[in-house]
Symmetry: C2
Subunit: 432 residues, 2 copies
């Protein structure tokens, strides 16, 4: 391990002779000089190979290298401001590790389905590298945020005996002698048990929806992070979400600027994501829609187009809170000031990216929650353990869920969530 050199570390080796191992990204010949672009997963380095230095045989050997052939390249590291990454190598030797047959993804344009069928190779492109690194940074920042604030990670189960919100969109599997198990849609109910035990917890894992939605915002399998905090009310919940989003975006700006540039992201739009975020009620959102000529009726849920119109009024994410209780889940607490609305809050990302966070203060009264289960025709027995949280030391508490793929899509400025995860799963795709 110690003897390996990586391109993202070349600054430490200027003037030294090192060996890089990787794949041929591109090869240009110009008479007696060859320019070999080697990628090693951490970056791309240009090797300059001069015939008079390496000799005819070595010079000719480089011609065997096709796109994505694996090879080792030895030479002296030199600072070169014009080079991507800032360094070049004066090549003294190359070793061919394996020659790639005709690599299917060429610099020409390919259709998205062609690329998606070759996702395992498509990941080698600089654009996909950039997205994966931003995804990595977002997830790293999320965990750092919670660990730094005394939250305990609470991994909720994937197999659940009952549904959080209806059963029509659940994947199911046989589970030994216990009947069916359903794949989780949200770890929230378990997060609530965790908050009563550990005060501040976050759930972070894959979640599943068997929804037949074929939009640019839907995956059947996606990752969600869900903090839950005892004694937090709706305002505390919004404060937390605000800190959280600012932390994520500012970390990506700080640590992944080259990647954002590769993606040609508008940096200024991200730099605007600063506290405080505007906070409007659902009622105010309805007013905005009506002023913009949308025939929107109070009581409906906001659709994707509505969210776009609302988010376009602001230069940063916007909180919309106090939705009609009818359109929200059974576990959300109603506003004591106005029981027609729930203490729910969504965050709409800027630039029309729509909802990235959904959350609420939870119903903490045993009798009210029991009635709500009945109103929603949910089986009381399956939720008996959840009711226990109101039987034994119930306290006000709140939480929210952030969808990772939608967040990656927003921060990277992508058109479709399918590029935000290494191997996307959609209703028509389960390979490779």
């Amino acid at each position: 391990m110690a003897s390996k050199f990586y391109i993202d570390n070349l600054a430490k080796h200027v003037g030294q002779t090192v060996t890089l191992q990787g794949w041929l990204y591109n090869l240009r010949s110009s008479g007696k000089i060859k320019f070999l672009l080697l990628r090693d997963g951490t970056g791309v380095c240009q090797g300059v190979m001069v015939k008079s230095v390496v000799g005819e045989e070595m010079f000719a050997k480089a011609d065997q290298l096709t796109q994505e052939s694996a090879f080792a390249m030895t030479g002296t590291v030199r600072a070169e401001q014009r080079a991507p990454g800032g360094f070049e190598m004066d090549v003294t030797n190359i070793e061919i590790i394996s020659v790639a047959k005709e690599y299917p993804i060429t610099p020409k344009e390919h259709g998205v389905e062609f690329l998606a069928d070759r996702r395992h190779l498509w990941l080698r492109s600089s654009r996909q590298h950039a997205i994966m690194r931003v995804r990595h940074e977002i997830i790293r920042s999320i965990r750092e945020f919670f660990a730094g604030r005394g939250f305990t990670l609470l991994d909720a189960p994937i197999f659940t005996p009952a549904a959080c919100e209806g059963t029509s969109t659940l994947f199911e599997t046989d589970y030994f002698d216990l009947g069916k198990a359903y794949l989780t849609q949200s770890g929230q109910l378990y997060g609530e048990a965790g908050a009563m035990a550990l005060g501040k917890v976050y759930v972070f894992g894959p979640t599943f929806r068997a929804e037949k939605s074929k939009t640019r915002r839907h995956l059947t399998e996606f990752w969600m992070v869900e903090p839950e905090v005892a004694f937090n009310d709706l305002n505390d919940n919004m404060d937390l979400a605000e800190d959280f989003l600012e932390h994520i975006v500012s970390n990506v700006l700080k640590n992944r600027m080259p990647e954002l540039k590769t993606l040609e992201r508008n940096i200024q739009k991200l730099e605007a994501v600063k506290r405080p975020f505007p906070r409007i009620t659902y009622d105010q959102a309805v007013e905005i829609l009506q002023k913009n000529g949308v025939a929107f009726e109070w009581g409906n849920d906001l659709g994707a187009t509505d969210e776009t119109i609302i988010s376009e009024q602001f230069d940063r994410p916007v909180f919309v809170h106090r939705y009609p209780s009818e359109v929200k889940a059974f576990y959300m607490k109603r506003d004591p000031q106005n029981p027609k609305v729930a203490l729910a809050v969504d965050v709409l990302a800027s630039e029309g990216y729509g909802e990235i966070i959904g959350g609420s203060q939870r119903e903490d009264d045993y009798d009210v929650l029991l009635q709500r289960l009945k109103d929603h025709d949910l089986p009381q027995e399956a939720f008996d353990w959840y009711l226990d949280l109101r039987r034994f030391g119930s306290v006000p508490h709140s939480g929210f869920g952030l969808g990772i793929e939608r967040t990656v899509s927003w921060i990277c400025g992508l058109e479709h969530v399918r590029e935000t995860i290494p191997f996307p799963r959609m209703i028509y795709r389960i390979t490779p």
Copy 2:
């Protein structure tokens, strides 16, 4: 948020009057003084309430507090070396938030099934807190380790079209018009694609086995972290695993000592987990077994008892490498020096905890891998994308998988993996 005080932060508030919110852990009365133990998820703080200070009414109000009742306690923070956590509170006021009815988990002994049925409440015990915090720290350390070494997180898919190692132990679900999807048993094959793209990656997510094993080491749903590195051979792989385990254990020792003490863990055994770890071949392992009177035949896989005997020879984790290829997976590269053995390596944890890591150098030759698929009766078509990794720029590469729950079990010194995860799933348990 800013106005909340937590017990793990009391050192900053000595001499100040603060309000803590939490649950009653215990209440002792001694004539004109009451001792209220409040837990808030971050710790436990003793409040000292003196009748002559708070008055008769307030003093009597405290008697309403049953175990796990929620309340707020206000008073002055005082350093007190003898107190758990080092601080006490001179109470001036309490507010009752909710009174718990008869809390089922009392300080008396309960059977494990009784507790497991009430897992959502059992998590409130100090022992379960300690385990969850150690789990959190292990996972935090793992991600820190890889992020610090330039690895990119690669979330592998949960839904897979084919099995990595046979289909008899797979959970399956209907997948729209595409037939069946199987829940992943390992993200490794996807990790390999990631390593060819990004050089150094790690996969980290839940994995699933529909195995009918009812042992203290088996869950149907468990978390696994799987690094994969291009250009690493078997020795590099062992170096990485060694650094990795030392990093995890030393972080837990550094950051979670109070929790280890709660668990009455033998600290010296953990302090011994230092590089270098012994590295023995499978052949040497067989010798050890035979010397210890086990009638072990060359060619068999090591069983749990065998692993215990081997690990007891050492004071730290031990690498066992170069297993008979017949007992290992199709994708493992054979040793060029001796094709009867695979370049596989397992790590057996110390103190008889058995295998926590399994890994190998991967087969990187297209023709050999193709033959191996045929030998194992695996459908070539399903693995065509995986073969692509050998068609286009194949390089030596290695990786391993670490089971999180077994690691938590080992580091915490537990008897059974069921306590290592918030909501364990076993063949006979899918609730709560």
